[in-house]
Every structure is written in C-alpha cells, then in structure tokens.
C-alpha cells in the first residue's frame, strides 16, 4: 500500500512565538483540520491586516495572537496553517484592522475579536439559558470539528416533494416540558426519543426551527408583567451559520453538538423521515449600529450588509440589519453554508425565512433574476434538496406565487392559510377560493408550470395562533411578551367559537374540536404539500399568544399530557394522515383536470354543491364538495368525495353517482371514534343517495 499520508505540504516553513506555521490554502474558507495542522482561511474586502487569535478552551485571555504574514495573503484571503494544535481544546477568532468610517460603510475595530463566519462549532452558549459572563470580550468563539461521522449508508432521503407531510417543530419546545419524559429535555438527544411518536403520527418530514448557533440572550430582558426572563427563544437571529446550536445538544458542553445532530438526522432518516432546516439568511444577530460586533460587522461591514447611502443599516428584515444577499461574496457564503449542511449533515431541505430578501439587490430593489436563488436552484450538491421560501419580507415585498422558482423553489402558501381559515370560520364568498386551494392553488402555480408541489399548504405555523387557539380566540393575547400586546399579527382570521379563551363549557369545547378536525381534513385532502405545526395534532394551546418568540415556558413547550387528554384528536390526525397516504390522487404533482383524467368519463376533479354537479359559487355559499376520480394504489378506480359545510346550519348533500358504493371515511360532525375510520375500514353508507353534514363539518367519502 503506497503511503500517501506523509505529505510535505504539511511541513512548517515559518515560526511565530513557538508556533509552527506555513502559508495556507485560501479555500475551503474557515478552519480545516489537516494532517498535522489546521488551515485557517478568512477574507475581507476592506481590512488592512488580520491576526489569528487562539485561546485555550474557556480561558479569558488568548494563548497567542499570530499576525498573518503578508506573504500568507492571496487576494483578500488570509490563510495560514498552524501546526500542532490540540484540535479539541483550541478556540479561535480574528482581529481585523481597517478603517472605521461608518459613512463609507466601514466599521473595523481591532479591539474586537471576531467569530469566523465559517466556524463549524461555536462555544460560549453551550448550556441553554446559563447566564453569560457579560464582561467576556470574546463571547462567541470558533471551534474545530472532526468531519468524520460514520453515516453508514445514510444519505438524504430524496422523497418526492408531493409525498411530503411536513411537521414544523422547535427543537427545545418539543421535549422541554417535564411531561416529555426524556433523558435530555429540550435537546437533539431528546428528539431522538420521540422518533417513534413522529413515525406513528405519520408525518415524513420535520422542519426544525432555527438550529444554527444563536444567542438566546440577545435582547434578553425581564418581562414587566411576569418577571420571567424573556429570551431570543425561537432563534431567528443567527450567530454562526455553519454551527449547530450548542445549547440544543445534550453534549454541547463537551462540544459534541455536531455528532449529536448528525446522529439525530441519521436516526430520523432510519424512520423514513426527512429533516428540513429553517434557515435565516435575511439578517444576523448583530442588529443595527447599536448592536454588538460579533463577526460580519467587524470583518467587512460594507460587503455583508445592505447600507443606506449614509452608511446606516437597511432593515428589510425588521430585525435591525439586512444581509446583502446578492453581493457575490454573500451569495457564495450562503451557497457554501447550504452545501455544507446538505453534504455533511445530510439535511434534506431548507426553509428560507423571509426569503424575499434573498431576491433583493444590494440597494434593496427586487432583482428580476436573482443570482443567489438561481445558484441554489441549480447547484449540484443541493440538487435534491427541498428549497422552500417564505416568499415575503418585512420590507413589504410579497412574492407568494411569483417567487423566482427556477423549477425548484416551493413557497409557504400564505394565501392557502388565509383562504382556508376564512372559509372554515364561515366567511362568505370563499367557495371559489376553497376550490382553488384544494387543487393545489393553480391560480398561483398553474400559469407558470410550477404545479402543486410549489405550494406548502398550512393552516398554522410557529408564527401565529396554534390550531386550537385559532378557534379559541378572536384576539391575540401577547401580554407575556412584554410589549403590551402590540407585537404579533392582528389579522388572524380566527374565531373563538363563542367564548374568548379556555373554557369548561362542553359545547364550545366540542365545537372547537370539530373545527380543528374540519380544518385539518381540508389541509390533508388538498393537493400540494401539507405542513402541520407541532402540537396541533394534540390540541396544543399558547393561551392566545400568537407571537411567542421570547417565552421559555409552557407557552412554547409541548405538553405531552395532551396526547392523553386529547387522545381522540391525535387518533384523528394519525388516521387522517393514513388516508392521505392511501390516496395518490390527493398527492399528484400536477393540478387536476376538469375535463378528463378520472376514471372512465369522470373528470379528475369535479365540484358539487348540495346537488351533485351543481356547486354553489355564490357569495353566500359556505358549502362545497369535490369529487376526485382516477386511479388509486394498485391501479384501482378511485372516487373520493370530500364535502365541507362551513355553514352554521347542517345540510343534505346529494351524492354524485359512481359505479361503486360510497363508504364513509371521515365525518368531523360525529364524535370520536365515529369521526374517522381507518383506511380499509371505511363504513358503507346506508343511503347511497346522499349525506347530511352537520354544521361546520367535513366528510370524506370514498367509493369502493
């Protein structure tokens, strides 16, 4: 066996204060472990000099500061190999010198030690919620990682987009509640113990709210009302784009968060479930000119941020600054980052927070052909990754249906959410909108050839009411956030079913339960990609808080007791997901056809009212039925009749004739367990001519 391990490039050629060095390689950027040494590479377009600062783990003062010799710079990249480091105990940062001229966009400050934007682990917040040392001059420190995880034969699952059922969740909230009964509450490791639950639920994709390193203490403060500490709890404010949040790892204190998260991904994959990350490339944790200098501001403020002509920060994110996403350098770091997560963490896809910003040019104007979005869409490493845009931003750009897609990008379909909420609630004039949403929103994704898989259908997500609260509150109740209920959206299209908030009143409770089931039935029988919000399957409440971003308390924490208390609802959702899985007709990647495409002479989709073939599109209509027809699994003829009565009065729906017999699968007007029957156990309808839909109910009836 020829020995290729003794490479002379790893012999030092220079020395500085006892440290052996040689010129480094400019790429890959960041810190890379080589045999014998570590390659450090960092760039800045405007800095005049750079120093590598090395610490022993946790020490307040540096062990050494090594200025990059001038011959170690290639272009604007400083790169250096440092030999004989203990990769496990070293922490590193950079000092950059350069002009401090805010009006010119420059804010260099050599007194600051800067986090490497490519750091693959960050120390300083290893234990969630542990009060930081506020005097620490270098609070977020880069660390090295071994990139040698044993994936065996795992790789991203590459499920077809149309097969997905997404479950949006917050890592800490998912198992932090004592009722979770996991060994490491609120961590990746905790999630590991809940994989059987997710599998049983029937979802096949989880979307994790931000897991990139963030600082829960960013803007932390005491609630004026409750006195509890308010955190940057959700984490939509990134400190390190390449590093998993240490505080989310049971092993974070040992710096093993990378291995822990990889192991979680691998185990989740084994359960057939994909992992999508919610990524926040619209701004960083550095805020505006009053925020801390952590990394980008000190490395190259003018390159990384969108600045006004006077040198202030544009604020399209609503969070103080805006990442300059269509600067070639920023494009490149975003691409490097996503490639890293896809390749090294086997991540299946990404949901881009306020993605409309990613299509703005450096002066904020929307670009017709944004190179960043195009690059991500065509990248070979990301080729099979799901790319999902939150297609709007806080600067007023709303691109649902028009986000530059390149045949790849899907969108959180905000119009789906609003239309279905309003229809279910009983608003008039929405029968037509509902029909469009059930088809996968051809109004948004038909004309441009994108199809239903461009549409992430959802009723609820982390932003806004939980599904139970949607039917328990007319108004938001965000007092706990400490902003006098000013924060959070006001247009929730919610209805409290007669009482504001929690109640012991059985009819109200029953109605709310029924509203939930009706709404979910629509979601799971619509073409497109359904997304559930953590806990909605078990009737989770946030007590009317529709913007719980700062609360590290049971408002956010998932109370697993609900799986018992609301066992019928959980069962309903599990079976509902099985029904979706049973019927490929509901999951086609094309919009349905009105004229043909079904079994024999039936169209693929047809709409009906109380009378078959006579949908009521009038303003006052609150009732709609649709008939799906085609081939089902095993190529059998399929007839799926789905009717919703959003009216406050019950109604008789005469059924269209089919060459099969109608069987009831779902009737949300019935109490459990008659509300839903498992696939294969649907109940023959005694009167094949029609069905009675209770007020505010839905039925799913299949021909067989």
């Amino acid at each position: 066996m020829p020995d290729t391990s003794s490479r002379i490039d790893y012999y030092p050629t220079h020395e500085y204060q006892g440290f052996h060095l040689r010129p480094g390689h400019p790429y890959p950027f960041g810190a890379t472990i080589l045999s014998g040494g570590v390659n450090f590479s960092v760039f800045s377009s405007h800095a005049t000099s750079c120093t590598l600062v090395l610490f022993d783990k946790g020490e307040p003062l540096p062990r050494v500061e090594i200025p990059f010799p001038d011959s170690f710079r290639i272009g604007n990249v400083w790169c250096m190999v440092v030999f004989d480091l203990d990769c496990e105990s070293v922490e590193y940062g950079y000092r950059m010198d350069g002009p401090f001229e805010p009006a010119e966009g420059h804010r260099f400050d050599p007194t600051k030690i800067l986090l490497d934007p490519y750091a693959k682990t960050v120390s300083g917040r290893e234990i969630w919620g542990q009060d930081p040392d506020w005097q620490q001059p270098f609070p977020h420190r880069g660390r090295l990682v071994f990139e040698d995880f044993d994936w065996e034969d795992d790789r991203p699952l590459e499920r077809p987009m149309e097969e997905l059922v997404i479950y949006e969740m917050h890592v800490r909230s998912f198992t932090r509640h004592p009722s979770a009964l996991v060994k490491h509450p609120g961590t990746f490791a905790g999630l590991l113990e809940k994989i059987p639950y997710l599998k049983e639920l029937g979802i096949n994709c989880i979307e994790m709210m931000p897991v990139y390193e963030f600082d829960e203490f960013e803007n932390s403060r005491k609630s004026p009302t409750t006195g509890e500490t308010l955190y940057n709890y959700w984490g939509y404010s990134t400190v390190g784009f390449f590093s998993p949040k240490a505080g989310y790892a049971a092993t974070g204190r040992w710096g093993m968060q990378v291995d822990e998260l990889k192991n979680v991904v691998k185990e989740i994959h084994k359960a057939g479930i994909e992992v999508i990350l919610d990524v926040v490339f619209n701004h960083t944790a550095e805020g505006n000119e009053h925020g801390p200098t952590i990394s980008f501001r000190g490395l190259d403020n003018k390159t990384y941020y969108m600045l006004t002509p006077e040198g202030y920060y544009f604020n399209f994110s609503g969070c103080g600054n805006t990442l300059n996403c269509n600067h070639p350098i920023v494009r490149s770091i975003v691409l490097d980052c996503l490639r890293y997560w896809a390749a090294e963490f086997h991540i299946d896809g990404f949901r881009f927070d306020l993605a409309a910003i990613l299509g703005r040019d450096p002066w904020g104007a929307p670009l017709p052909n944004p190179p960043l979005l195009e690059s991500l869409a065509f990248d070979p490493v990301l080729a099979k990754c799901k790319l999902i845009a939150e297609a709007w931003d806080a600067g007023g750009l709303y691109q649902v249906g028009t986000f530059p897609a390149y045949g790849r990008w899907a969108e959180w379909n905000g119009k789906y959410r609003d239309d279905v909420r309003r229809f279910v609630k009983g608003d008039p004039g929405l029968a037509g909108a509902l029909a469009t949403r059930l088809q996968g929103s051809p109004d948004l994704y038909g004309w441009n050839g994108r199809g239903p898989t461009a549409s992430i259908n959802f009723l609820t997500c982390h932003d806004g009411f939980t599904l139970l609260d949607l039917f328990s509150y007319n108004e938001k109740h965000n007092e706990k956030n400490g902003e006098e209920n000013r924060d959070g959206a006001n247009d929730n299209h919610s209805w409290n079913c007669g009482r504001e908030g929690a109640t012991e009143d059985p009819p109200v409770q029953a109605l709310r339960r029924q509203m939930i089931k009706t709404a979910l039935s629509i979601l799971l029988t619509s073409r497109g990609v359904p997304m559930l919000w953590m806990g909605d399957e078990m009737g989770r409440t946030q007590e009317g808080n529709n913007n719980a971003y700062c609360l590290d308390d049971p408002t956010n924490w998932l109370d697993w007791n609900l799986t018992e208390q609301n066992r019928d609802l959980l069962r309903f959702v599990q079976l509902l997901l099985r029904h979706r899985k049973a019927h490929p007709l509901l999951r086609s990647k094309k919009h349905p056809c009105f004229h043909r495409g079904g079994f024999e002479e039936y169209p693929e989709i047809s709409f009906h009212g109380q009378a078959p073939w006579q949908p009521d599109w009038s303003e006052e209509s609150r009732r709609l039925a649709c008939l799906w027809s085609g081939r089902d699994r095993q190529d059998a003829p399929a007839f799926l009749y789905f009717a919703v009565n959003a009216h406050w009065e019950g109604a008789w729906f005469a059924l269209p004739r089919i060459p099969r017999c109608w069987h009831v699968a779902i009737n949300t007007g019935m109490p459990a367990p008659e509300d839903i029957f498992a696939p294969g156990e649907e109940v023959l309808l005694s009167d094949q001519s029609g069905v009675f839909l209770s007020p505010r109910s839905a039925m799913f009836i299949i021909g067989k």
Binding site: F146, D150, A250, K262, K266
Partner: protein
C-alpha cells in the same frame, strides 16, 4: 491516563484509567492500535475512565474499525452512565458490544 494491558487466554484486557481527551488520545491510540490490528479480541475496561472527549470517542471508534477490518473485535466494559449516555447520544455506542464488567466480558467471550 494510565493503560494496563494483560493477556487473558485468547483475550487482551486493557484497563484504562483517567480522562481520554485530545491530549491523551494519541497515547491510547499508539498503545492499543497495534493490539487492535493483530486480530485479537480486545476488552477495554472503562470503569475508571472519567471523561471521554470527542477525540476520545474517535480513538475508540478507530480501534473498533481497525479491529473489525481484521478478525478482531473490541468490547467495552464498565462504562459509567455519563459516558454511556454521551456515546449513545452521539451514535457511537451502537458500534460496540458492551458488558457490565470485565468479569462478565471475560466469561462471555471465553
């Protein structure tokens, strides 16, 4: 870090004492890798190992790979709960066959 090696019939039993981290891992590796590579069954008694860092885990894994690429095998005994937990959470645990104690291992593998 202390490393005691003793042959017990067809087994080699190694008693490790102390912390296995970036500083001590190279020593563990250089002492044990030759043993792992020679195809024998290696029982690592971990009872007195108080800490396993990331590099420590990797040394165990490396020994295991080296052993199993031949006819050898690595067994761990007496892992304290914290270590066991760390190994479990990071996915390393399932690569190894475990015994509660050195004695049990020797018994079972005899």
């Amino acid at each position: 870090m202390e490393i005691q090696v003793q042959a017990q019939g067809s087994l080699t039993v190694v008693v490790l004492t102390g912390e296995i981290d970036g500083k001590t891992a190279p020593e563990v590796q250089s002492r044990l890798l030759p043993l792992a590579e020679n195809g024998r069954k290696l029982v690592l008694d971990m009872q007195k190992v108080t800490f396993l860092s990331s590099a420590g885990l990797r040394v165990l894994f490396l020994l295991n790979r080296a052993a199993s690429s031949g006819s050898g095998k690595i067994f761990l005994t007496g892992l304290v709960p914290e270590l066991r937990d760390t190994m479990s959470v990071t996915g390393f645990l399932k690569c190894f066959q475990l015994f509660d104690s050195q004695e049990q291992a020797v018994e079972a593998l005899r």
